[in-house]
Amino acid sequence: MLVEDVMRVNLITLKPEDSVLDALQKAKENRIRHLPVVEGDRLAGIVSDRDLRDAKPSIFVPEDLDLLKAKKVKDIMKANIITAHPLDSVDEAARILYEHKIGCLPVIKDEKLVGIVTETDLLRSLVELMGATNPGSLITIEFVDRPGILADVSGIIKNYGININSVFLRKSKKKPGHTLLSMRIATIMPEHIVSEIKKAGFTVTWPMDGGI
């Protein structure tokens, strides 16, 4: 999955000469936390909810609307922004957000701002990846990894003529050296498949028999 598949393209933007009050209102009305600042179609900077909070007077002082009107976006925006390209992979984008502890990446193509990817967009694509958008049942299998396990397990599922909606692999935290494979399979009755998988020598951690 690429950044262009998950980015938002209908953008709410600011101009450098806009007032901080404009920025506050736009963020509030649209319930967003990141506002790109543009000159023409080029990115000049970004204003986040944190920049806006810093620019506002303390909550202990009455709000001075004139001051907020007088202050300009260009005075509080961050320049030198980390950006993404539409063809960056989503996992790359997620890693950048995570490593730099930031909440969004403006997407730049041909030196123009074409979109934005936020934490929220990445979370939404995670939900889609987990396959909960098509009816199916979860099965989770635990094993010591070796080549061909996925083929073995999906071979069993194939024999039942059942579709697989999603596949996830991760290292087990509870059992070091073990790997967990979670699949959403398109059936309301996974029981036969589960018992076949057990017969093939795998440990099935969900569904489990009679109690946690």
């Binding site: 396959g131 199916g136 309301i188 009755m189 109690g211 946690i212």
Partner: protein, 382 residues
């Protein structure tokens, strides 16, 4: 006939049969009906014959192309290439001869139930053959070909402009009905089910609240696997009482899947007959309190057809007909069916509290359920 409940039933319900081995076994309908007769709870005058749903009634909630596909598949009993993309011919929903007719009768029966109730011919009506809540606009899913409850809702909406509350207590999320009315503020769908994190179909999270004008009119309470009676009843009562009061329905349609029982092989909730009695009792009370008793009950899932389904749906009928259940299972019924049953049939109508010991993690489970309920109530906008 007002004040009375009726039982919509036809022997042709038994034609809704995928195959000999398939877990969705219509024998459960016969077992339930004979149990009620043997217990003296069901008289010939209680039974109303259903009609087959007309095509235009099916088209209220289904794609005409999908209906054509079901008809064609039912004629030959074999799959064409395209059938699979309509969810037909899969392991869950195999094709069988006459499937269009069999599924149309179920829809006709639930529409009949809604008609009798809305025309004030009766107060309550039960169709144990109904509750096929997974069927989608253009797809068979989870053993469900046509969505009878959704068709009855759409039909009553069109004919009576009624506000309808749909309550689904099957172990699986009532996804088909929810998606068909997701943007409709006249239909409130409420589903209380085992969390989709674990169980089919995977949807039914707290955040699925409806869209556009229907925002707020879909309500989901996902519960933890191994949820037991006390936690279940607490959550159910709290949620249903508060939202029925706010929505003020003209008609309640309840789906009474009994795969939430601890013996059910397809799901992992751990209810006993204590909760299975409580569900229709609460629905019954709410119907009288908020919509002059107008209540249609349908069946649903339930795959322990010997020990669970007949007793569970007897409990629904006891409420619909307002007749108390006996303590013991009738001996004529036990004698007849014990010979065929692969498992020992229960001799009492109710489970013994000791039949299902509490799960070691029951405190965590109850706490998580309570938290889900709190989160849900915070999000409610109706």
């Amino acid at each position: 006939m007002a004040g009375k409940g009726v039982y919509i039933y036809s022997h042709e319900f038994l034609d809704y049969k995928f195959s000999q081995q398939h877990p969705f076994n219509p024998l459960r309908l016969k077992l339930t009906t004979e149990l009620l007769e043997a217990a003296g709870l069901l008289q010939p005058e209680d039974i109303v014959q259903p009609n087959y749903a007309a095509l235009d009634q099916l088209e209220l909630v289904h794609d005409p192309l999908y209906i054509e596909m079901v008809q064609a598949a039912g004629l030959t009993g074999t799959a064409s290439g395209k059938a699979l993309s309509y969810g037909l011919g899969t392991g869950d929903n195999p094709i069988f001869r006459g499937m269009h007719h069999a599924a149309s009768l179920v829809v006709g029966a639930t529409i009949k139930a809604a008609e009798l109730v809305m025309e004030n011919k009766v107060q309550h009506a039960l169709n144990i053959g109904g509750g096929l809540h997974h069927a989608q606009f253009d797809k068979a899913s989870g053993f469900c070909i046509y969505n009878d409850a959704a068709a009855a809702i759409a039909w009553a909406l069109q004919k009576y402009k009624a506000r309808i509350m749909y309550i689904d207590t099957d172990a699986h999320h009532g996804d088909g009905v929810q998606w068909l009315f997701y943007n409709n503020p006249e239909v409130l769908t409420v589903s209380i089910h085992e969390s989709g994190t674990y169980l089919f179909p995977g949807t039914g999270s707290i955040d699925e609240l409806g869209i556009d004008r229907g925002a707020g009119y879909s309500i989901n309470l996902p519960l933890e696997p191994y949820t037991h009676d006390t936690s279940y009843i607490e959550c159910l009562e709290d949620l249903l009482v508060s939202i029925t009061k706010r929505f003020k329905p003209d008609l309640i349609i309840s789906q009474n899947g009994c795969d939430n029982h601890f013996l059910d092989p397809l799901a992992h909730l751990s209810l006993t007959t204590r909760a299975l009695r409580e569900i229709p009792q609460l629905t019954h009370n709410l119907a009288h309190e908020y919509c002059e008793g107008r209540w249609v009950a349908v069946g649903g899932g339930g795959y322990d057809i010997w020990r669970v389904v007949p007793r569970a749906w007897a409990m629904v009928w006891a409420e619909v007909a307002n007749r108390p259940l006996p303590i013991d299972m009738p001996s004529t019924w036990l004698h007849k069916w014990q010979e065929v049953s692969p498992v020992r049939l229960p001799e009492k109508m109710d489970d013994d509290p000791g039949d299902y010991p509490l799960n070691p993690k029951h405190k965590d489970i109850s706490e998580k359920n309570k938290l889900s309920l709190l989160r849900l109530k915070k999000n409610l906008i109706i």
